[in-house]
Subunit: 214 residues, 2 copies
């Protein structure tokens, strides 16, 4: 996609060339995080962006600032997916849609889920959005249970289990990862239905934060 904004007059106090550098760094960071995870060396991102390491550090003094800026749009999308799910008059359908969409987001960009769930000291806004997303998810789970769609013995940790499993199947290229993710999510959503539930072994003690450690 050609960058439509970099040649317009500056609106945020950056000169056009500085802005172009910034956009290039963020694109390179998203690509690198997606392939290698968010621990990829900053030097590798600078190389990918075609800028010097000093330029990168001037713009993004910490890894946290780079990660949160790189994923700002995905974060907003994730929050809106949850809001849409909660707004669905059928909570079970809302729950299924959220699970399917989040799995596809993870398939398309494994770096994002990892970024979203990693604790960055000093990134209060990111942490707040995450806390809100987790509360909304817990609310959606409860409503889906109350409506009789989701099985009673579904545990919050099962969301983590699903995301970890999804992370395992989304190893290939884009379309292949999406196909595997869709199939896995469909199987698991069938298993999560209240009407077909039979006894389960004990839930795993898996905090959502676990995904960030992958």
């Amino acid at each position: 996609m050609p960058d439509q904004t970099s040649h317009k007059p500056s609106v945020d106090g950056l000169r056009a060339d500085a802005r172009e550098n910034r956009d290039r760094i963020l694109r390179a960071a998203r690509d690198a995080f997606g392939v290698q995870g968010i621990d990829v060396p900053v030097a590798a991102i600078a190389r990918r962006a075609g800028v010097g390491v000093a330029t990168l550090y001037r713009r993004f003094p910490t890894r946290a600032s780079l990660v949160t800026e790189a994923f700002a749009e995905e974060l907003r999308h994730c929050v809106s997916v949850l809001d849409d799910g909660l707004a669905d008059p059928d909570p079970w359908r809302g729950f299924c849609t959220v699970i399917e969409k989040v799995c596809l987001m993870q398939a398309a960009d494994r770096g994002f889920t990892q970024a979203f769930l990693t604790e960055f000291p000093g990134q209060a806004e990111f942490a707040l959005e995450r806390a809100r997303a987790e509360e909304n998810l817990a609310l959606l789970v409860q409503r889906a249970k109350d409506a009789g769609g989701l099985r009673e013995d579904f545990e919050p940790s099962d969301v983590t289990l699903l995301l970890l499993a999804n992370c395992g199947v989304t190893v290939g290229s884009g379309e292949e990862a999406a196909t595997a993710s869709r199939r896995l999510a469909a199987y698991l959503l069938q298993a999560f239905r209240a009407e077909t539930a039979t006894a389960l072994p004990a839930p795993a003690r898996l905090d959502l934060r676990r995904i960030g450690e992958q």
Copy 2:
């Protein structure tokens, strides 16, 4: 477990100290493969075993010979799990038992599944065992479908999907990985039941070999 065999008189032409070295290398290799995968540098295995790299190479001239020897016992176990599953008069129960056991084997030792599914040139015996295991699995799937237990739209690639998903959830320590694996396998087996099947999206084109590339 203390090594009971290393001080007995040699039965396979190796002197006691050579035998001890060999056992120590195989234990170190299993540990290293389990943690870091089968691509771990040979030097790291030698270091872990407390032997020189030259000693290791004298005993195991190729990585393939080291991998196949290290996993010989697990391979036999895996083959016998499949044989037991096929011998079960209830094919659906046989299928479930195989899936549960293989998932737990993978949870206990991620290196083994990877080793089992990686092609090693010149390791004909390993390749033969693997081919036999895959045939037996395909036979078990067909019988479980014919008996009405397994859903008709279950695809061979769904076994790979399950093993990749299981690989994703078995990231923690031993007991934690086993708990997560049991929960995931139980959910998926409920989703695989013919009686609760509803429409699924297209299967992923996932060859079993894919696990070896993890």
